[in-house]
């Protein structure tokens, strides 16, 4: 979708900023905010580019660098850690040959650590984009990743 089409869905008040940034980032095939996204948002809300830059860099879910097509967020909170999430992280790194914060060679995945995802009832858990996966076992991972092209 065109940037202008996205911005049209939102009003011009400052309170729309975070929702706008989410919408622009979700629209980007590489899951990140380009300079032009920030400029367009600044223009739409009539606020400065530097203000938006400050906001974007404050929140962990926004990225100024290209990311994989699908974002894996693995929960790194104490409950998941108690359920051996560190083993899962090691296995993911191995399967996709990437480290935390990196993009897989085929650009299909980015791997990020996240604070508590609120899935402690099904720990260890992770999200891929908006899909939730819990009670993870190393053996399940490869087939889960298969679903994401």
């Amino acid at each position: 979708m065109e940037r202008s089409e996205i911005l049209k869905q939102f009003g011009n008040d400052d309170e729309n900023l975070i929702n706008i940034l989410h919408a622009l980032q979700n629209n980007n095939s590489q899951n990140y905010l380009e300079k032009d996204d920030l400029k367009a948002a600044a223009n739409h809300l009539n606020i400065t580019y530097s203000h938006i830059y400050g906001v974007v860099t404050y929140y962990t879910m926004f990225s100024l660098k290209p990311r994989g097509k699908n974002i894996i967020r693995i929960c790194n909170s104490p409950v998941c850690d108690m359920e051996k999430s560190s083993d899962i992280i090691t296995k993911i790194k191995k399967i996709l040959s990437i480290g935390v914060g990196e993009i897989s060679k085929d650009k299909r995945f980015s791997l990020e650590l996240s604070e508590c995802l609120g899935q402690c009832d099904i720990a260890p858990g992770m999200m891929i984009n908006e899909d939730v996966y819990g009670n993870l076992h190393n053996a399940d991972l490869a087939s889960i990743f298969e679903k994401y092209k």
């Binding site: 400052d14 879910m61 909170s77 409950v79 609120g118 009832d121």
Partner: protein
């Protein structure tokens, strides 16, 4: 639209579901259900039913709380109570359809319990089974029972009657009802809800705001997520009532972006409520206006702090502001603003839906009503529970939770997430209420209860929470930004065997300083996990420092692996598994681990065949000892 007409329509639909001629399958499809495969179960049910000759409904419901038994499928069949099944697999679905629809029989395997009149079949009542019996579901009563995407289901279960009741009274009357109920903030601090509302109501200002804080981020907590996923209309009803009471005509729900399903359900519920004039202008012809907007977070824990949350809605970096002025006086865009937690607002809806005295008959003298908890960690029955205030931790862990996993010893219970503390096993007879938990050095918090056993190292746990606070500190004030960094550095030294006894005093001093000097709730409570573990598990810290031993065998530098001479058969598997070639020995000979080279990854222990079990891990550090 007339509320009476709405209720009539809704009741007819609900009654048709319960008593009508068409059977129905209800599948728990909240996040826990989805993760256990509820999506596949629903698909299977739908295909099986469409290819069969019988008419049958398939509905999606929220989480009934027994997350460890998901996927949960309940069956309504004319003339029978609702039968609830746990751990249902796709193959069971075929059997269920065959038995229920084709033969009119009941499958007795995997039944958790039944809901409703149950004379003809002798099955346990769902609410009398051990997990459910100590619970009182005042807030969660609809979760797992109604379809959260169907407004009629909510209305048929007293939904929006609380709003109707409120609108017939003066706003002051509504606040009085809250006062009588004794409801205190469920976000953790426990401030009386009515008093907060009264401050805001008394402000002479045309514009006021109501905000629901759904930025649940405490490690170990997911109560709000389940409530939003399973019963979103309850929150909307509570918010309209609250808006009316304080004189706000605009409300915001600030929900973390990590909860996509909750956000989806909320947005749908808001549009449904607007369509039926339960939200918007001139609500139910009362002349009262109230609009709701959903705002997403973007991954900043501190935005759960009320002033940071306000900054985030305003389109700023979510950083806290000094209080006073309190938001009830000067909040969103400097207007009087009330921020309530999800559970508090749902409780408001329930209080108004029921007669005076209903809520306050549960709980203790100072803490009324019930509290939802996310029961997680090393406990058998993980899930979402709701108990009357004053229930003991013992009842929660053993009666509801079924005790500790794998027959291990209970060590501690962590409450209140990174703001709370660890209560030792010796104190689990304390009642869960605001005062008792504060006395024990922890807090009620929003409701995460993390059960820990003998395999958990309390120093490591404290380090984890401080690391969390350090990462999530917004950096605005020095005590929190730098203090948590220093506490983390000290704890890292201790778990690496480099700690000194002076470090313990330093931790305590630093902790107290951070609590005193920090700007917001995050810093003011961040040292709690360290201070409570120092208080109750001081010996464990001393073991780490003086004897270089981690008694729970968690801290990598303070444990070591050894091959047992009498058990090693020389199978050579560990030799091959070791990534740093620290194991020596020829096939069929006794193997040995070189402690200097060993990185304590545990690969050898994992790979050693169970029939030999020749590798053991011990607390201590061989290299440091030598």
């Amino acid at each position: 639209m007339n509320i009476k007409k709405l209720i009539k329509e809704a009741s007819a639909e609900w009654s048709d579901l319960l008593n009508g001629p068409v059977p129905a399958f209800l599948v728990g499809n909240a996040t826990c259900g989805r993760s256990a495969g509820a999506g596949d179960i629903i698909e299977k049910l739908k295909t099986e039913i469409s290819s069969g000759e019988h008419k049958c409904r398939v509905l999606e419901v929220g989480c009934i709380g027994m997350c460890f038994l998901e996927p949960i499928v309940s069956v309504y069949r004319p003339g029978y109570p609702l039968i609830v099944y746990g751990k249902v697999e796709e193959k069971d679905v075929v059997k269920m359809i065959e038995a229920f629809l084709n033969k009119g029989e009941i499958i007795t395997e995997n039944i958790i319990g039944v809901v409703g009149p149950n004379e003809q079949i002798n099955l346990p009542d769902l609410f009398s089974i051990p997990i459910m019996k100590p619970q009182k579901r005042l807030v969660l009563n609809n979760c797992g029972i109604i379809d959260p995407t169907n407004l009629n289901h909510y209305i048929a279960n007293k939904g929006y009657t609380g709003l109707q009741e409120a609108l017939q009274r003066s706003s002051q009357d509504v606040i009085e009802r809250l006062k009588e109920s004794g409801l205190r903030g469920r976000g953790g601090a426990g401030f009386p809800t009515w008093r907060k509302w009264q401050f805001c109501k008394d402000q002479d200002n045309d514009t006021k705001y109501l905000i629901c804080n759904a930025d649940e981020g405490d490690p170990g907590a997911f109560m709000n997520r389940s409530l939003l996923e399973g019963d979103p209309h309850s929150l909307i009803e509570g918010m309209v009532i609250a808006g009316y009471a304080i004189g706000a005509s605009m409300g915001y729900i600030y929900c973390r972006a990590e909860y996509p399903l909750a956000l989806e359900r909320l947005r749908l519920a808001i549009s449904q409520a607007e369509e039926k004039n339960l939200l918007g202008n001139d609500i139910m012809g009362s002349g009262i206006n109230f609009k709701l907007k959903v705002k997403e977070g973007a991954g900043a824990f501190v935005c759960g702090e009320e002033t940071a949350l306000i900054a985030s809605i305003e389109g700023e970096r979510g950083m806290p502001r000094p209080r006073p002025p309190f938001p009830a006086i000067s909040g969103l865009w400097k207007n009087p603003t009330i921020i309530n937690n999800v559970e508090s607002l749902v409780s408001v809806a329930r209080i108004l839906q029921n007669e005076p005295g209903w809520f306050s008959k549960y709980g203790t003298k100072e803490s009324k009503g019930t509290k939802t908890f996310a029961l997680v960690g090393k406990v058998k029955n993980t899930g979402l529970i709701e108990v009357p205030m004053g229930t003991t931790l013992r009842e929660i862990i053993y009666d509801i939770g079924g005790g500790v996993d794998d027959g291990k010893q209970l060590k501690a219970v962590q409450t209140g997430g990174p703001s709370g503390g660890c209560v030792p096993a010796s104190m689990i007879d304390i009642p869960v209420d605001y005062e008792s938990l504060a006395e024990a050095g922890t807090i009620m918090g929003s409701g995460g209860l993390v059960v820990m056993d003998e395999d958990n190292c309390m120093v490591d746990v404290a380090k984890f929470f401080i690391d969390f606070a350090h990462k999530e500190s917004c950096g605005e004030c020095a005590p929190c930004r730098l203090g948590t960094k220093q506490m983390l550095a000290i704890l890292e030294d201790i778990v690496a065997g480099k700690g000194t006894m002076e470090d313990l005093d330093l931790l305590e001093d630093l902790g107290k300083g951070i609590m005193k000097g920090s700007l917001c709730g995050l810093g003011q409570t961040a040292p709690n996990p360290v201070l409570t573990t120092l208080r109750y598990f001081g010996d464990e810290y001393i073991e780490h420092i003086q004897n270089k031993r981690c008694p729970a065998k968690v801290c990598r530098d303070l444990k070591y692996y050894e091959i047992l001479e009498d058990k090693c058969t020389g199978c050579h598997i560990c030799f091959k598994a070791c990534p740093v070639a620290a194991i020596s020995g020829n096939p069929k000979d006794l193997h040995k681990i070189d402690q200097e080279l060993c990185i304590k990854c545990g690969m050898c222990l994992d790979k050693c065949p169970v029939k030999f079990s020749a590798i053991e891990v011990y607390p201590g550090n061989k290299v440091m000892e030598d």
